[in-house]
Amino acid sequence: MITYLEAIREAQAKALTDDPRVYIYGQDVGRFGGAFKATKNLAHEFPGRVLDAPISEDAMVGSAIGAAIEGMRPIVEIQYADFSTPGFNQIVNHAASLYWRTRVPCPITVRLPSGGTAGSGPFHSQSMEGVYAQYPGLVILTPATVEDAYSMLLEAVAIDDPVLFCEHKYLYYHLKAEGLPTEALPVGKARIARPGRDVTVVTYSAMVHEALAAAEELSGEGYEVEVVDLRSIKPIDTDTVLASVARTGRLLAVGEAWPWGGVTAEVVARVASEGLALLDAPPRRLNAKNTPIPFHPNLWGTHRPTAPTVARALRDLLRL
């Protein structure tokens, strides 16, 4: 059995083995193996290629850009996605624009441990993928499975563009698989995580599992819920989403991020504008609440969507 977190470690080990241009840079990633142990033993196995960074997110990302210009393929670990804000400028203004401005690709991978866990509070729980997705020039991956955590991280390193790899902290230990995958869907393709014919849930990352649990619950009530795992939120595989809505006629977009804008708005807007005729009922969204992410598990459990609230939203939608 291998966890989502171990898959991330294994992908990095493989990238370091296969490609001498890869190195890892981040706070405590070296001998310590990272705050979450995503780089455990890598400094030892790959001497000189896994470097501890000072608490300088701007310079960490900036230096990765420079190294990429010179042909390297850095992986930057940000300790929590929330702490990418001091590095925001280098990501959105520099990495994202480099190729377009200069014709020199910027193959950096920025790993963003994302999403909430109980008791983590407002600054160790954020899902920033939708914020970054507004910027042109970035590829944004949001793996929901152990297999995708592995294969998409390898792809991220291989892609010639800056990739934000939004790995979900809640899945780190909760999610296990039999082993590492030998093949995978390519980045840019969504996955039907569960087929169904009555309603489509479009979601990604940890929320895929809440949606699957809700689907299971509703199957007991006679409804077949189709769950689409976007896998990457930039690009979004709009075709797969539309094809699913064509089958079911109903859409619920679910995201763990805040309700204004973001993935659920983009998905609903695309379906409304490209697939209005497919809809038998108004498309719906379910997001986190519009406040910072609360510390106490009671509040946190209400703040983000969960299987029961997804199920409730689905029942409402099926009744329409």
Binding site: Q27, D28, G30, R31, F32, A35, D52, A53, P54, I55, S56, D58, D82, F83, T85, P86, A118, G119, S120, G121, P122, F123, H124, W258, P259, W260, N287, K289, N290, T291, P292, P294, F295, H296, P297, N298, L299, G301, T302, H303
Partner: protein, 316 residues
């Protein structure tokens, strides 16, 4: 500082018993420094403590109930379960509540001091703390520079505990001593051995006094060692034994107790009694908080704005 130690050890044991949500971050070994700052400040000053400042918080007037309530997520705490552990304060009382992003509080304290200046208040000091690791943030630099330009009465205490999480000083900066940064900002710099309470009281007290008297920002660089993990989940095995055994590894609390006993300012019996009564105080606080209600999602406002009328109702 004894209270801080006892409180934190109790929180750590609650953590080990699985009774705390989220992490527990101790200031063990940093109490002399932090308490000296808290004690040097006055009511009306501004204080933005950081992770390892339980002692300073108490010395600045925090009720231990506030600490326990925040750690345990009581709805009656100052953060109402919205925030946890070290992310607490009462800004209206000059006791600011940190955000997690290192370096961010320094400019906020600067702004508080600018406001006081606008209001014509004199003799106010604003103090905040940062670790060796936090000095690498851009926020640290921008804020300290701003303080220097505005000649603000800021006291910036840098607790160099040799590690930022697992990262040793030599991966964090390359200057000989962090106090060498003072000249580059045009602020006064001070050094202190923070295993020694007397020294801390003296140096930190002097820095606070200098700021209060109008000599502009004061940077105090303290040498010490964290006598715990980064958080209670961390066994700190990366700290070399030799370092723990060396001068820096001394426990400031033990040293202070010995001094008190040596100087006969306190008798062993009095110390034991004091410790006992503090322990009882902490136990009582925890017992109280354990009976308090958790926050209730149903009665939460779920509104981030001070002006609810401007909340985007579609997002509700």
């Amino acid at each position: 500082m004894l209270l801080a130690r006892v409180l934190e050890e109790k929180l750590a044991s609650l953590y080990r018993a699985g009774k705390i949500n989220g992490g527990v971050f101790l200031g063990k070994g940093q109490e002399a420094l932090s308490a000296s700052l808290g004690m040097s400040l006055r009511k009306g000053d501004i204080f933005a403590p950081l992770i390892r400042d339980q002692a300073g918080r108490l010395a600045f007037g925090e009720d231990i109930l506030e600490a326990v309530r925040t750690y345990m997520g009581s709805a009656l705490g100052p953060m109402r379960g919205r925030e946890g552990n070290v992310h607490r304060g009462r800004p209206k009382d000059g006791y600011y509540a940190m955000i997690s992003h290192l370096g961010a509080m320094i400019s906020v304290v600067c702004g508080g001091l600018i406001a006081r200046r606008f209001k014509g208040e004199k003799g106010v000091v604003g103090a905040t703390c940062i670790g060796d690791g936090g000095t690498s943030t851009g926020a640290f630099h921008e804020a300290l520079n701003l303080a220097a330009v505005e000649k603000l009465p800021l006291v910036l205490l840098i607790a160099n505990n040799q590690f930022a999480y697992s990262t040793p000083n030599d991966r964090e900066f390359a200057c000989h001593d962090l106090v060498d940064r003072a000249i580059g900002y045009g602020v006064e710099g001070h050094k202190v051995d923070a295993t020694d309470l007397d020294a801390c009281l003296d140096v930190v007290g002097r820095a606070v006094a200098r700021a209060r008297e109008g000599h502009g920002p004061q940077m105090v660089v303290a040498s010490l060692l964290r006598l715990s993990g980064h958080g209670e989940h961390d066994d700190a095995s990366y700290i070399p034994e030799a370092l723990k055994a060396a001068h820096l590894g001394q426990d400031c609390l033990k040293t202070a107790e010995c001094t008190l006993l040596d100087r006969k300012w306190i008798s062993p019996e009095e110390l034991a009694e004091l410790t006992g009564s503090i322990q009882q105080q902490v136990e009582e606080a925890i017992a109280t908080v354990q009976r308090e209600p958790a926050p209730d999602p149903a009665t939460e406002t779920w509104c981030a704005l001070a002006t609810p009328g401007l909340d985007d109702t579609f997002c509700a």
